[in-house]
Assembly symmetry: C3
Homo-oligomer: 430 residues x 3
Amino acid sequence: MAQEEVAEAAEAVEAVMTVAAPDTVFIFNTLLFLVMGMVVMFMAAGFCMLEAGSVRSKNVAAICLKNIGLYAIASIVVWLVGYNLIYGNADTPGGWIGTLSVWAQDDSAPLELGYASGSDWFFQMVFVATAASIVSGTLAERIRILPFFIFTVILTGFIYPVQASWEWGAGWLDANFGFSDFAGSTLVHATGGWAALAGALALGSRTGRFKEDGQPVAMFGSSMPLATLGTFILWLGWFGFNGGSQLALGSLDDSISVSNIFVNTNMAAATGCVTVIVLSMILKGKINLPMVLNGAIGGLVSITAEPLAPVVWHAALIGSVGGVLIYVVTPLLEKLQIDDVVGAIPAHLACGIWGTMIVPFSNSDATYGGQLVGVLANGAFVFGISLIIWFGLKFTIGIRSSEDEENIGLDLSETGHPGYEINPVVVPAE
Amino acid sequence: MAQEEVAEAAEAVEAVMTVAAPDTVFIFNTLLFLVMGMVVMFMAAGFCMLEAGSVRSKNVAAICLKNIGLYAIASIVVWLVGYNLIYGNADTPGGWIGTLSVWAQDDSAPLELGYASGSDWFFQMVFVATAASIVSGTLAERIRILPFFIFTVILTGFIYPVQASWEWGAGWLDANFGFSDFAGSTLVHATGGWAALAGALALGSRTGRFKEDGQPVAMFGSSMPLATLGTFILWLGWFGFNGGSQLALGSLDDSISVSNIFVNTNMAAATGCVTVIVLSMILKGKINLPMVLNGAIGGLVSITAEPLAPVVWHAALIGSVGGVLIYVVTPLLEKLQIDDVVGAIPAHLACGIWGTMIVPFSNSDATYGGQLVGVLANGAFVFGISLIIWFGLKFTIGIRSSEDEENIGLDLSETGHPGYEINPVVVPAE
Amino acid sequence: MAQEEVAEAAEAVEAVMTVAAPDTVFIFNTLLFLVMGMVVMFMAAGFCMLEAGSVRSKNVAAICLKNIGLYAIASIVVWLVGYNLIYGNADTPGGWIGTLSVWAQDDSAPLELGYASGSDWFFQMVFVATAASIVSGTLAERIRILPFFIFTVILTGFIYPVQASWEWGAGWLDANFGFSDFAGSTLVHATGGWAALAGALALGSRTGRFKEDGQPVAMFGSSMPLATLGTFILWLGWFGFNGGSQLALGSLDDSISVSNIFVNTNMAAATGCVTVIVLSMILKGKINLPMVLNGAIGGLVSITAEPLAPVVWHAALIGSVGGVLIYVVTPLLEKLQIDDVVGAIPAHLACGIWGTMIVPFSNSDATYGGQLVGVLANGAFVFGISLIIWFGLKFTIGIRSSEDEENIGLDLSETGHPGYEINPVVVPAE
């Protein structure tokens, strides 16, 4: 081959070479799932800290047990049934449910799939765990551990997978209504919120939470630093939650998309947080920390249905409205005497619906009608089934601690172990 | 094409192919910003835990509120004005300030830029938040929330961006003096330290912190585990802080550089920490945990101006001197009756200056004169403006809680919510 | 070159291009070490939180000091001697010890090495720190700080490196017995466990831990949320611990392997955790949180020797047996009146041995005989040397606090600083 022909070949090579090699794309995609999956997994710790800091000190060990237990259960159940119930029918679109089978790796045609199948399982599994984490917060301080774990099995093995299959498993919602829910404002967060609301109705409020005239009585959480740490961990985890939901990293466009998702996710959290601060300052003079924390979470949930399409000020606005919702829905629930220990229903349900309904504002592929169908279908299914399960459990094994147990706290009654044992320290004079 | 010509072409291909394809380089660079940006973002939680653990239990909710609020504020302000005030004039070197404009993504020429613009914004934004985090620690337990947030807006929207533009925005300090500050010993940490010092002077010390004869009174932090957790999170985050400041990952050299930065960053933290342990053991017999934690932070700040050029023992030495500075400057500040709740001034200001001045020891591109100009210019500007702002706030809306409020604690006076509600548990005999 | 020849060349190019370019492979491998190394580094915080939450409130500052100190010491010692004692003879297989020399970067032939040398040092160093972290938990609440740090120097600078060199440094165990320990069930975890057991024997149990008739007295940890947080951090870190031990990411196969390791690691932790929950529920009616947390850790240690070869149900089974071991060995140790504050011996030693011995079940390259040789050699060496060191320290400088010091707690006696200072808050009626 003559010199000039080599040069031509090199040019041709360079032209092709702009693009990452297929293996490289595969590795990037896999790495996205693994790294983002890790921070989403860490959200389980975030929920745990948020909830441990928000419950009274006598119910702290019990809530920690529920949180680590639910993550472990979700891991096992998503392997045994959950994953394939979501994705098992993805090759025959329009269905109502996936297949009932144990998940196993399939890396027989890696470059066609585009990522390692195990990395995808890991990423999807931690999403299911997130939905279960939402429920534990609302029902804290009064639900017994066994019925909670039984519900967790059903939520992660049936409720979540079925409704997720409608959209992410290429089911009827995706096929027929153009429903759009990028990272799960509805499919994950509203799901958790509806299940929590059903549980709160079945369970009733904590003893003493409302006076006879219906006035709420403040019950202070055990540790605001832990609640704040939990919120920071959730904020961090949400970069993985939304960013990883791009599902690919191995191209210019994908990496730019993930970056823009990071920016929007952060911005919605920031405006949700600041909105609550400003509202509190102006309307009350004092700034309630738990509501500020929930403002950030509300902003995050709000942007989760569509973190990619919005320009930055859209994201800022969407998050800010999320903050307003936290500020408005929290006292509304109290008026209805629904006892939600960590404010999960305002954050995950109200903001989840808001985030889903506002998708068409920035993403013209979605329609308000299609979004409404998705929100209603998800709500009817998850809330309906959850009510049935919760009341079924209530009238069989029972779901609530006795009043005596509630008074001494679930830590001693359910775990036999105090959550804190911090004694006053007497420091000798120097 | 004959067989041998194909072989020749393949050889030519392989020769070119040693290097990563342009898209691949772009994705690596973007991924560096995103992953390292995430751990730097998490430093906000680290500062929050360090400060929550270091203040007395009655001021814990307030410090948590300040910390999550300042991160949210920084996010918004850096978007609206901060980013372009730093980088807006980077194409016309030698300036004093960037441009006043809202930041927006620009990915129109991706391969020329080399990374997704959103990923860069995210990485730079979390740096600004870090500077603001430093201030809250020094001023804890007595500053009111509103003036603190107002100062945060000014710090993140004006003070930090202007001085950062001098160097990282290709301004006069970069253009004329060869000033070198790799990841911000001066531009980030000393900036935070100077702003904190100005605030401490304007605010005065906590009631009861110094006896009439000037002797300091120890005020014990609420939770050493949280302070330690915060320090570990900062240590972790610093890998992102320094490693991400390489600003590129997509070549052999860049990835080797990031690795060496990890090694040096870790080593300086380790020697800073061990130096304080050894000094305490020898000189006092007891080892003060908060000072050991600050020793690690001091080592980290010290290596931040130049984490790449030093060989390992340079890094060890630089960090160790950082530890000595912590040990020496902390009591010095007490002598001056300057009340710095978490020791941020020794760690971020003293070690920030030390780290900046020692750059020429391992990096021959820098000069001691140029470094001094940068340190002085940064100090004069940040400390001067900060003093003006703090005293301006003091004589208008006021910056300090009343003595009554300080006595009951900022948690109840500013947030209406206790930071902890941990009741002694009586475990029944088995 | 004619049109069709260019097309042929392009085809040839594409065929080659499936594979990532050598630089790309190098960067992926390096990035794996850095990212996974970061989360393993964070395990130091995880151990610290687990231990701080598990000790009584009067020993909390001391355990935090030990944990951050040991990480800093490990960093320095692994640099000065540890790394080359492990890997210094890797080019002459079959040896008993590496070389005595200070580690320094060597990136002279990057593509031959396949990763940045600094990234590898970082990843290996955090492994050594992990072994040291295990020891501090067992010996908490009674060991003095100075002898603990001296032992840490010897453990990280001699004991760990020598036995690790036998396998990972291509020594005799690797060369002659086909011993297989993927990420260190034996080399890291059992090593820490044996050293802890030797220390516990030399040190004796906490005052009052066992009644005169040998019955154990429960001593409640200061904070279950911190213990739970620590466990979550360890679970997170283990993805890096096992996943990073693939040592490469830059090929299809490697990235699939890392993904499968993530799945198995998570599954073993989940089944370990759930197994303890189920056993507790059935056998005791109450669920002991610390043991559940240890169940997760036991599952993780069990899968560490071979996280790649098992199919998912193997991993689930291996982790589940780990949970059983926690449930069985913990009371057994109490019967023997061996006082292990955090249950590190059941988790790291018992499960470490179990995980190592079961490797041949899923990996046919290993033999039960070879595994046994490794387990015995590791145990004899680490336990023997540790006993000598601990008793040597005991009879020279002493290792245990006086009974008075133990009563007031190590926080005040060793650090002069209380671990918590949380005062009851009186919230005024609204």
